[in-house]
Amino acid sequence: MTTASTTSGATAPLGVDIAGLSYRFGSTVALADVTCAVRPGTITGLVGRNGAGKTTLAALVAALRPVQTGTVLVGGRPVWEDPDVTSRICLMRDKGAIVEDERIGTSLRIAAMLRPHWDGEYALALLDRFEVPVRRKPQQLSRGKRSALGAAVALASRCELTIFDEVYLGMDAVARRMFYDELMADYIAHPRTVILSSHLLDEVEDLMEDVIVLDRGRVVAAGDTDAVRQAHSRPGELASLTDVLIQLSTPSSARSAS
């Protein structure tokens, strides 16, 4: 059981406990009896192939969708419609928390209203660093700048549980490096729980203290990243997370057959 208190003004990182979680989109099973935990105060990788269920899992943790079967506890509390919990969870992905057709200031004001630990100055500093023009509308930005905007809002929200779901899509290599640097610097300065969902495993695997590997809606490996890599290594050669994913993922032939 991994929990942290959510008392007023506290910035204690929030842990996540998931038990027996299943979710279907009609006849499609997105998650099947998922049980796992995210330790508070860690950076946990959520990895898997396309369609593995990463985005659905993140959406359920952030209460963007109601749980169908199973339980999701954040900080030891059910997350659905609890404002003291939802305001401390930030899920940043390619759409959602940003108002696309109004100036960026609108999204910053919304975050300032709803995020208890919002740092507006830090947000502006990040937008400046990522060279995001603040007077523009998000829908007018390039994909990379739009991603940088999302990353900046998520970092400046300083939520006790911050989830990045492929937030750096479209960012160039320099911007991604800047993002990783900012993430680590702010993570150290303001400890929180971070979940990173990414396909760029080679870039982020060194950031991940823990990892959860999903395949076709099921958890196929979870735990300390080094231990998971070690468990799937050959003698004398430490497996990368990409190697782990290749070993654990259902072959595409089996996926299409099913």
Binding site: T7, S8, A59, A62, L64, R65, P66, E81, D82, P83, D84, T86, S87, R88, I89, C90, L91, G96, A97, I98, V99, D101, E102, S107, R109, I110, A111, M113, L114, R115, P116, C159
Partner: protein, 242 residues
């Protein structure tokens, strides 16, 4: 400790600030247009006959043509459009930013109530002006005859209060339905309500009589507003963010 009440209060204030700005802008623009119409009418020597109100159609006709009514109509339409646009534009972003659905629904309902109050305060001002100037150079929004007083238009004003509230809550509910379900659910619902039911009433006489009796009942409008607000709340509480 962040509570639903805290979030609702903060969001309602934010929505209300935005609504007030837009309604004030609509009022300013429409007043300019109205003044221009008045000046043109004065210069050209145009007159508009004043007729007593004998039905809702008459009210609407006068409403849209009177100089005082132009700002009122503009603000009323702006309130209806805002009720749709604010719900449609911000709900998903607010929920994804940590607000609960209950907070957003509560805040938008409070904001809707504020808009209804603002529109009706403006209507009262227009009514007072018309009571003062009715019979003069332009037609009457409320159908006031020359010599009529403010009190003569109050029943119409009270009826309009319910109509504006119904329109605003209906706008929010329509937006919520489109947010929660695929587009064809919203389109189908609107088609049934706006086209299917009237057609059914046309074919089935008892239904038409029942509808007419329900509409003429004094409690129909308040009950309709409450029922719509309840439906809006239920639809919003189950919202999924794709």
């Amino acid at each position: 400790m962040t509570t639903t009440a805290t979030q609702t209060r903060v969001l309602a204030r934010w929505f209300a600030t935005g609504s007030s700005k837009v309604l004030a802008f609509a009022l300013a623009i429409a007043t300019l247009v109205s003044v221009a119409v008045w000046a043109l009418a004065t210069v050209q020597g145009w007159t508009v006959p004043i007729e007593p109100v004998d039905g809702e159609g008459q009210v609407f006709f006068e409403f849209s043509t009177t100089a005082f009514g132009i700002p009122l109509a503009a603000v009323g339409i702006a309130a209806f459009v805002l009720s749709i646009v604010q719900t449609a534009s911000y709900t998903r972003s607010l929920v994804a930013s940590g607000a609960t659905r209950a907070s957003v629904a509560g805040a938008t309902l409070l904001n809707g109530a504020l808009m209804v109050v603002l529109v009706n305060v403006l209507a009262a001002v227009v009514l007072a002006l018309e009571a003062r100037f009715a019979g003069g150079w332009v037609g009457s929004t409320f159908g006031l005859a020359p010599g009529a007083t403010f009190a003569d238009g109050v029943p119409v004003l009270v009826h309009a209060l319910g109509q504006v509230a119904f329109a605003v809550v209906a706008g929010m509910t329509i937006a919520a339905v489109f947010l929660r379900w695929p587009w064809w659910v919203g389109v189908g619902t609107l088609a049934i309500v706006l086209w299917g039911l009237p057609l059914l009433a046309f074919w089935f006489e008892p239904l038409a009589a029942l509808g007419a009796a329900a509409v003429s009942w004094p409690g129909a409008m308040p009950l309709g507003v409450v029922a719509l607000a309840g439906a809006y709340w239920v639809v919003m509480r189950g919202l999924r963010i794709p």
